[in-house]
Structure formats: C-alpha cells, structure tokens
Symmetry: C2
Amino acid sequence: MKPLRMLPLIYYLATKGAMQHPIVLTTVELGKELKVSQQTASRLLRQLEGLGFIKREAFKRGQYVILTDKGLELLSQVYVGLQKVFGEVPEVLTLEGEVFTGLGEGAFYVTREGYRSQFIKKLGFEPFPGTLNLRIKNINGINTRRLLEHYQGIEIQGFSNGLRTYGPVKCFKAKINGKLDGALLLIKRSHYGFDVAEIISAYNLRKELNLRDGDLVHVGVRVKTVEA
Amino acid sequence: MKPLRMLPLIYYLATKGAMQHPIVLTTVELGKELKVSQQTASRLLRQLEGLGFIKREAFKRGQYVILTDKGLELLSQVYVGLQKVFGEVPEVLTLEGEVFTGLGEGAFYVTREGYRSQFIKKLGFEPFPGTLNLRIKNINGINTRRLLEHYQGIEIQGFSNGLRTYGPVKCFKAKINGKLDGALLLIKRSHYGFDVAEIISAYNLRKELNLRDGDLVHVGVRVKTVEA
C-alpha cells in the first residue's frame, strides 16, 4: 500500500501526458491544481523523484517532468486492478513488433529440461528450440506489454540444476499472425526492456511464417485464464 | 484534484471487494496494510466516510465498509482516465437490461422542440416519441452504465423555453439487439439511478423488436467518438 500513497499525483501527471513525454510544470501551477501551497507542491515532486516515480529537469521557467518505468509500473498495476474490480479484464490483448535477431540464448533457455518439461505440461506443446524476438515500436504496444506483467499468466517455475539457478517465467498463450499458436514469455531478470516480446511455439515461426528481420508480426495474447 | 487525495484508500477497498458488497475491516488490519498506526487508519476511514466515499457500520469485532456511489464515481473517473492514458478506450460497451414501463414522461421530453431538433442534427434521426426504459440487473452492466458518465458522448444542450429549464443530455449512439440503431441517453437530474438505461430510436423499438416488460434487451454503446 505504501507506494500507492503517491498514486493521486502520479495519476494526475499521467493525465497531463507525462506517461508519453516530458511535460512542463511549475510548482505554482501544480500547487493550484492540487490546492496546496507552492512549497508543498515542490516537496511532493521532490518526494516523487526520491521514490523513483519521476525524472525531472529544471529549466528557466519551470521543470520538465516525465514518469519513470517505476511510475508507469504503479499505474499499470492500478489500471489492471481497476479492470478487475470493474469486471473488465480483456480476454485478448494485441501487440505488434518487428522481428530482430537476439543474442541467440533463447534456444539455450528453451531447451533446459527444467523449463522444457513445464512448457510441454503447461502450454501443451514442445517448443521449437529458439525464441522469436519482437521489438515493439509503438507506444500503445509497449504499454500493453507493460500491462501483461499484472495479468495472471501461466507460471513456469524457476529451478536449479546444481550449477545455476534459472528464474521463473510467466507465459501467456498467444496466436502469431492470426495463424500459429505459441506463447509470449515474460522473462524475469531479462536484459530486455518493455519494448521486447519473446515468443515460443511448437513451430519454427521464422520458417513457417517466412519472417525476416524487420518484418512486422502480430501477436494476440490470451490474458484471461479460463476458470477451473 | 482534492478528492483524488483519497484515491489510494478507495482503490484499496475496491480491490478487497467493497465495490460489490460490505467488507469486514478492523482498524488494526487496515493499519497493518497501510503501514500506519491503528489511530491513523481509524482517522482515514472517518475522513472517507465524512467525504461521503464510504458507508460503514460497526459491529462487535470490526466494521462493515462499502463504497458509496460517490466512491464508485471516483473509481470510474480514474479507470476511464487510465484507459485514456493507456490508449485503450473501448469502441463499444455492451449492456443488457430488462424492459420496464416508465412514468411515461419520456415521450414528453423527447418531443420538446429544443431537444428534438438537436437529436435530428446530432444523432441523425428523428426519435420516435418515447423512450425504451431498461433496468440493468447485473453488476457488470451497472458498472458499465456508471463508466459511461466519463466517456465523451454526443452533447445535447439544455435550453429554456421561458416556462421551464431543460437540462443537458449526453447521448451515445447505440445498436439495439444487434439490429436497430438508436441512442442511449444519460439524462442529468434523472430520477433514475445507475441501474436504468434510457434508449431512443427512429423506430418504435417495443413494436419493431416485439418487446414486452421483462424482456431482456442488448445494447451496444459506441463510446469512442470518431476523431474529426
């Protein structure tokens, strides 16, 4: 609950556009909006920055303020929370991304027995050894990717084989280009940011869908887990 | 912004179920959740009640707390606000309600020239003199009806004819039972609550759709205004 304390101001900044781009703020204006003194407005922004929810930069007549990943994370959490209380969790979210060649470690991870056996059991297919990496280029897609963190997915548990510890992976069943079934992976501790989606499938997606780097791929992500 | 100050606690109560039904709370638990003292938790609940966001009732081992219409109103506003910042405003919302016979004043209002001429101009049809009243029975439908207040609709302006002042009406184009076009009206100062939807159409909907009191009607409400 503690981080929620800053929700009103973070929400306010988001409605002013600070989710997409730096907005210009003066503490005088902000004070008026919040019905608090300029000093209090200034202190609130300082707190928000101290907690890592915003980045800001002073300039002559005011300051630029933009929400950080942590700020967007809080908004995403609350947004999905509200979808739940309003009974409006979507069944399918859609994403588009451009194919790119990763560092090649996808195949390594997917073929670890600790993961592989869980993929077969929980996703219902044996994955082709490799991931299809997509870079999401539009802001709505990146937001959607961000929201996925807060939906219930299919949990692949982490494990240790004595030599190394492998982290947990959250998956969502997905339809690739409206044709082939697969899954989108949210890999914890991934070195990729929120603009990357990693896809696995029983198929060699690059080959079956005739994909090259730079091609646009459409992913329909199933987020509503069927109630048992 | 001022009412937003209470958003974190209202959101928290909603995630605990207080949107649908009274939840049992003790100030000890709440203090733990909020990481504040029991006294502060108690004071926050008192404030929330004083501002009209919750109703509560003490019983032996704690208190029942439920969000009021005003509390739900704030959540609805923030939820729709977040849909906007996440670029996820839906195009169509769906509602279902049971036909009931109103007090008969629908025909009177719809035929006032000040409204009638605006309906023709802004909705593109001359309404049949009468409204189809639907009572929404399920909680998700009532929530949807509540959310409509926060979407941009088609504004029918209020007017005065010298004898009386007629209030503004917000409309949304709608498809009735997937067949006939019409509009859903959000009548300000209506004596109906959030469980009633009033529909107009160029058609006599009761006749064309062969409806009787108690019949279930499906309404697809178009909420995303096409950008000019």
